[in-house]
Amino acid sequence: MKPAAFDYYAPASVEEALDQLAELGYNGKVLAGGQSLIPAMNFRMARPAALVDLNNIKDLGYIKEPGEGGLAIGTMTRDSVVEHSKVVMDKAPLVVEAMPFIGHSQIRNRGTFGGAIAHADPAGQLPGIALAMRARLHILKKGSDRWESIDDFFLGPFMTVIEPDEMLAEVVLPPLPEKTGTSYKQVSRQHGSTTQAAIASVVSLDDKGKVASLRVVMMSVGATPLVSSAAEEMLVGQEPSEAAFREIATKASETEIDPSTDMHATAEYRRHATHELIIQSLTCALERAKGKGG
């Protein structure tokens, strides 16, 4: 299968790319790593009239530590670069933990950090990880820019607030509080195949060992990655316990998700897996939080 014909633009700068996107409007599409877009074009499920290839823009690939802490990751940073980065391991170990689950090494050598988030695959790891990390997204268009919270970013499967004349430029992961533990747990049929269910947890403790804040994100069980409000309501300000984790798992898997049946798993299996993974992920994140700063 071969892609349909398209016009190809390979701008060398962000300004040039924004000019082209503005001119093309609904006819234009950003090409990042191409690891989702090109398969879709090969199948002719996607037939963009024009591609604006970001691969020649050198200053969109970076991992920085901004003054206010945390990390700023340029959209075109390859997954494999993020995966092996020492600063990312140090500041956002959740990201590194989830990385090896993304397809295979050859895919991660080409796929980009921002591209995966912009792609908004509900079964993807990075949209959920960004949500768990409370990411902020820098979106540019010709003549203006805006910051979006990840909480408002996803509109549905493969749909985000990014307009056709806009591009994602940077993903900011705010610093994690002290005494924070994170954990990613996933099930799939075999390593590298599609997520059947996955949970990312971020647990922060206060000085007395109570839960100061937490976030539990559920993936592949709805139109977008989902934040469990049950987890927050039931645990913040409380002493964490296995009993509480079980209660959260039951409530979240019964009332907060909308899994579907497809070739990868049945809805019932996804519900069951979500229940088990919430317990595993919270238990692991709590252990890690306790291990930090006494």
Binding site: Y8, I38, D53
Partner: protein, 161 residues
């Protein structure tokens, strides 16, 4: 739309200048335009790994890159490994360990394993299995591929000095 774009690509150390349509996949460019048929094509959506080549030192799917995007870059394919009389140590090990039957998947495995061994010259079986998790083989059952990689790693580490 169909207007060809001029590109300059280094493949296996040799520079090629060609004009390509934007929609031409790198896999098809290598096979049809350059007649380097060492790169195989299975699924054309990134799943099987048969089309894996090395681009600027790392393994990638040539079915998921447009030939225009290879402009100014360096590609290595299975065609550039050994010759029939002087096989590359990895090819030799594949032959000795019976790590191929039909051979359709083999170029993809080779171009995945070569950068892997450059990074990790002395891998464990577990690391080898992880490294090849993006390459499908319908014939061998993988066991002999793991053995061949192990054997080649020992030989190549000895040679590298």
């Amino acid at each position: 739309m169909n207007t060809p774009i001029n590109i300059k690509v280094k493949v296996n150390g040799k520079e090629y200048k060609r004009a390509v349509e934007p929609r031409l996949l790198l896999s098809d460019f290598l096979r049809h335009d350059l007649e380097l048929t060492g790169t195989h094509v299975g699924c054309e959506h990134g799943m099987c790994g048969a089309c894996t080549v090395i681009m600027d030192g790392v393994s990638v799917r040539s079915c998921l890159i447009f030939a225009v995007q290879a402009d100014g870059h360096e590609i290595e394919t299975a065609d550039g490994l050994g010759t029939e009389d002087a096989l590359h140590p990895l090819q030799q090990a594949f032959m000795e360990e019976h790590a191929l039957q039909c051979g359709f998947c083999t170029p993809g495995f080779l171009m995945t394993i070569i950068p892997f061994l450059r990074e990790n010259p002395n891998p464990t079986d577990e690391e080898i299995r992880t490294a090849i998790d993006g390459n499908l083989c319908r014939c061998t059952g993988y066991e002999n591929i793991v053995k061949a990689v192990k054997k080649a790693s020992v030989k190549m580490a000895g040679k590298a000095k």
